[in-house]
């Protein structure tokens, strides 16, 4: 009889080769209908030099082997559908299945971006409706849905800041980012042609106003701020901070990765933010899918509206139309109109909740995070005493005394049946453990998670080895990441 650890019990899993190793010449998993036109002779129509030989080592497998292959691989994965996924800053909430259904609605799924506007009214209305609703939620005057992801939204926002400042005569040189910022923020600033200056956080986990004041000068284009910030704390001085930047003619960009803490409670537009993005695959429940697709809606105050990416959807004579006549626009950041299928899912999420429901979800997200904090803070050191919003961040200092670090606790959590929290981020917290449960976790699951964390804390006292060598119950024990990077092998090749 196998032992139960937390929510898990080891079970048999299937081994599975790579498709290329399964492959057998002559096997096929498809059948095309007979052609109703004559077959071309490519050597003649394309020129022999333009025609390829066979695609060497491309798979040859049957339909049965395809479904078994991918189903077996799927059992090696973990997802929200299996349980709590407390990755801080990632907002791994339940992905409503109806959203998958509606994204596959025939007229929407088969709509070509260049089909006539007269045949696209429904799709355009979805874009316009979502823009309008997000504008209300953000407290922003206009929203673009063109960016394909959060980091892409950051780029869009900072490029708008650049064009706006350039229109005033000087695009300026620097972007400020707190040392707690997501790595995408400084990387974005560079891609947008700026230098980056880091701002220190204070002992409360918030932006240090003195450091900020010292850094603001006429060269600063913008501050990129995450609020609540990456330690899960609301920047209490945010209105003052915005005023400080505005006073020197600079803009304030908000990374809305943590918007799930604010919907229906506070609006960035109201507390002074000029431009922000929100990851629709976080706050608005569209699936992460193992790392995308996402969507990064960007909201702006009216002074930045002329700089939004083109085209913009607008109503003319009672019909939706794409407006390309946007002379001050930064241009396109992506072909067509954005990740439309993701937008459909986000709109379905908002429609399901309505205004009151969205606020209720936010409050529950705050409640679950604070509940986890309350249950764990006797055994794990909370990084900052300030009140937590939708996530709580601990430091591993108590565990480090026994030689166990955040990454080890994370691996041991897997044995208990949970995906780990975010490990070692933000960088300002020593051995960070960043936990975001989201509102879609029942108390039973939260309790199981807290029980697991507390059991691990006990193990660290009594038997640290079991934690240091975790995971033990997975089909794959600890993976050697150093070896992978030493001599990278990023494709299969025949021996």
């Amino acid at each position: 009889m196998a032992a139960t650890t937390g929510k898990t019990r080891p079970n048999i899993t299937q081994n599975e080769k790579l498709l290329f190793e399964l492959s057998t010449p002559g096997k096929r998993g498809y059948q095309l209908p007979p052609m109703d036109v004559p077959e071309a002779d490519p050597a003649e129509t394309l020129g022999a030099g333009n025609v390829r030989d066979e695609i060497r080592d491309f798979p040859e497998v049957s339909e049965v082997e395809v479904i078994r292959h991918f189903t077996r691989l799927s059992t090696w994965n973990y997802g929200i559908d299996l349980g709590l996924f407390p990755l801080g800053s990632c907002t791994m909430k339940y992905n409503p299945r109806v959203n998958e259904t509606v994204a596959r609605t025939e007229g929407l799924a088969w709509a070509h971006p260049y089909q006539p506007e007269s045949l696209s009214q429904g799709a355009m209305e979805i874009v316009a409706t979502l823009e309008c609703m997000l504008g209300e939620i953000f407290g922003m005057d206009a929203v673009t849905l063109q960016p394909a992801a959060g980091a892409h939204g950051e780029f869009t926002g900072i490029m708008m800041v650049r064009e706006y400042l350039a229109s005033k005569g000087n695009p300026r040189k620097k972007v400020l980012a707190p040392d707690s910022a997501h790595g995408t923020n400084p990387a974005t600033a560079i891609i947008a042609g700026y230098e980056v200056a880091n701002i220190r956080s204070n002992e409360r986990g918030m932006i240090d106003l003195e450091s900020l004041a010292a850094a603001i000068d006429e060269d600063v284009a913008a501050l990129m701020v995450t609020n609540p910030n990456t330690v899960g704390v609301f920047e209490q001085d945010i209105a003052k901070i915005c005023g400080m930047l505005h006073g020197k003619g600079a803009q304030v960009y908000m990374d809305g990765a943590n918007m799930n803490a604010l919907v229906g409670i506070a609006r960035p537009g109201d507390f002074g933010i000029d431009v922000m993005h929100s990851n629709l695959h976080k706050t608005f429940s569209t699936p992460h899918g193992g790392g995308g697709p996402g969507a990064g809606a960007v909201g702006v105050r009216s002074h930045l509206e002329p700089f939004l990416p083109a085209p913009r959807v607008k109503l003319a004579d009672g019909r939706w139309t794409w407006d390309y006549a946007r002379p001050q626009s930064i241009g396109r950041v992506r072909a067509f109109y954005g990740n439309f299928g993701v937008l459909v899912r986000a709109l379905a999420y908002i429609l399901a909740h309505g205004g009151e429901g969205l606020k209720k979800a936010t409050v529950d997200a705050l409640l679950t995070a604070n509940y986890v904090r309350a249950r764990l803070e006797k055994r794990f050191k909370i990084a900052y005493d300030a009140p937590s919003m939708h996530e709580c961040v601990f430091s591993d200092t108590l565990q480090e005394a026994r030689g166990v670090r955040t990454g080890d606790v994370a691996k041991r959590l897997i044995d208990y049946g949970f995906h780990p929290y975010t490990v070692s981020f933000p960088l300002i917290v020593h051995g960070s453990m960043m936990i975001e449960p989201t509102e879609t976790e029942p108390k039973q699951e939260l309790d199981a998670f807290c029980d697991a964390m507390l059991a691990i804390a006990d193990e660290i006292e009594s038997n640290p080895e079991i934690v240091l060598n975790a995971p033990h119950n997975t089909r794959t024990p600890r993976v050697d990441e150093v070896r992978a990077a030493r001599k990278p092998k990023v494709r299969w090749q025949r021996e």
């Binding site: 095309l32 071309a40 997802g79 992905n95 954005g338 299928g341 993701v342 009151e356 494709r491």
Partner: protein, 438 residues
């Protein structure tokens, strides 16, 4: 209230959790926020609705979007049959609801499929390294340009006018950062291929890369070898772009390019009014440390078994911050998985047969029409039409969406349209289009 169906806690649960937090009310969870940040009124949004009403809302929007029309639009987005298997696989919660595979021990499913994806993209493109996917084809272009700039230490990018116009617009937006310099070169008005002589005049010692598309926006297949030779002679890289991935089943792979970027929408990804899609970026082994985005590599686990993990993350923003190769933090894993299943279902023989059907249908459609350019084409080509708008209007009445009128992107081609045929183009509909154009 309908939305309660996604919120699993009862009021009793909430009360217990609040008590554990030492709080008396839910409002106390956010009452510490500064007053000027709090919104005092409810959001102006309609009340939540039921699942049935949601399905009905989107059915009505879909009905306003021309379901049931035949279409001859291509131009970067193609109508191909989607094998049932693709949706079956991506609908599994273990894939759909998982995250970026940072925790390799519980993400071997995603990591293995990405390794297979990278392998198949390498096989198709004739490159040695492919990443885990890009947002889409258009955003892959500036990433390739930035990569070429890092490799060569130069800052000038020459892009062909025959590259998808919207992809070029995305590149021009990137160039607004004042560090990338983009110049465009024209095409041969007879062949519809790039103007090699003009390129030769423009290329210089500051040129980081030459960016061409093949088959290009007009459907014309480019002589990549000639462009590669010219670029390399000047120490520049060749970036090859593709928008129609099915062509790779039949056309010679762009092995002479240094960086290949493209769009995989054709591999089972619904047109979906422009996205989400999945882009690719592939290159030579020697440039691996300059590639942007996620990479999955092979390694072993503590038991000595083969395992996979994200690798070379020291290129990436979450480690390198302002020194990263790119600000990209996600790929398009689920879409890439869809494409991986598609490639598995069709396989070696199927992709070729599919490509042959596309090419044969397009040849049939083009036969007898007044083609604008002479270069060979795969499944898209440009035809003259006195008024493309009038032709399209007439076709629309027969429930056919015609070709793309080119005047909006190329004023000199106001009398031309871009037509595309795929395996889904029926002979009867093609005959109707041919009739309307003759």
């Amino acid at each position: 209230m309908a939305a309660l169906r996604y919120l699993p806690n009862s009021d009793q649960d909430r009360a217990e959790m609040l008590a554990a937090c030492g709080l008396a009310s839910l409002e106390q969870l956010y009452s510490h926020l500064p007053a000027e940040a709090l919104i005092e009124r409810p959001l102006v949004l309609k009340p939540g609705i039921s699942e049935y009403e949601i399905v009905d809302y989107f059915k009505r929007r879909g009905a306003e979007c021309g379901a049931g029309y035949a279409s001859f639009l291509g131009a970067g987005v193609y109508r191909h049959y989607r094998p049932v298997m693709c949706d079956v696989v991506v609908s599994r919660g273990e894939f759909l609801t998982s995250y970026t595979p940072y925790q390799a021990e519980m993400a071997q499913g995603t990591l293995t499929t990405i390794f297979e994806f990278q392998t198949m993209v390498s096989q198709l493109t004739g490159m040695e390294v492919a990443n885990a996917s890009m947002y889409d084809g258009s955003t892959a272009v500036p990433e390739a340009a930035l990569m070429a700039m890092r490799i060569t230490g130069r800052d000038r990018c020459l892009v062909a006018r025959t590259v998808h116009p919207e992809y070029r617009e995305v590149l021009h937006t990137q160039a607004r950062n004042a560090r990338v310099h983009v110049e465009t070169f024209g095409y041969d008005t007879r062949t519809g291929q790039i103007g090699l002589a003009e390129l030769e005049r423009l290329i210089d010692a500051r040129t980081a890369c030459v960016i061409v598309q093949s088959p290009n926006f007009f459907g014309s297949i480019e002589d990549l070898k000639a462009v590669a030779d010219l670029a390399h002679k000047h120490g520049a890289l060749l970036v090859d772009v593709f928008t129609e991935a099915v062509a790779l089943g039949l056309l010679a792979p762009p092995e002479c390019a240094d960086i290949v970027v493209g769009e995989l929408q054709s591999f089972a990804i619904s047109p979906s009014y422009g996205g989400p899609y999945a882009g690719i970026i592939a290159t030579k082994e020697k440039f691996i440390r300059q590639i942007p985005g996620r990479l999955v590599g092979e390694t072993v686990d503590a038991g000595g078994n083969r395992a996979f993990c994200l690798t070379l993350s020291t290129r990436e923003q979450h480690i390198r911050r302002e020194k990263a190769t790119s600000n990209i933090c996600t790929n398009q894993a689920l879409i890439a998985l869809m494409a991986t299943v598609f490639m598995s279902v069709y396989g070696k023989a199927g992709l070729r047969e599919l490509a042959m059907q596309n090419h044969s249908k397009a040849r049939y459609l083009a036969d007898g029409l007044d083609r604008r350019f002479t270069a060979p084409f795969f499944n898209e080509f440009v035809v003259r039409a006195k008024s493309p708008e009038a032709v399209n209007k007439a076709l629309l009445e027969k429930k056919i969406v015609g070709g793309l009128a080119l005047g909006r992107f190329y004023p000199e081609l106001e009398d031309s349209m871009l037509l595309c045929a795929t395996e889904m183009s029926a002979k009867a509909a093609m005959d109707t289009v041919k009739e309307a154009l003759s």
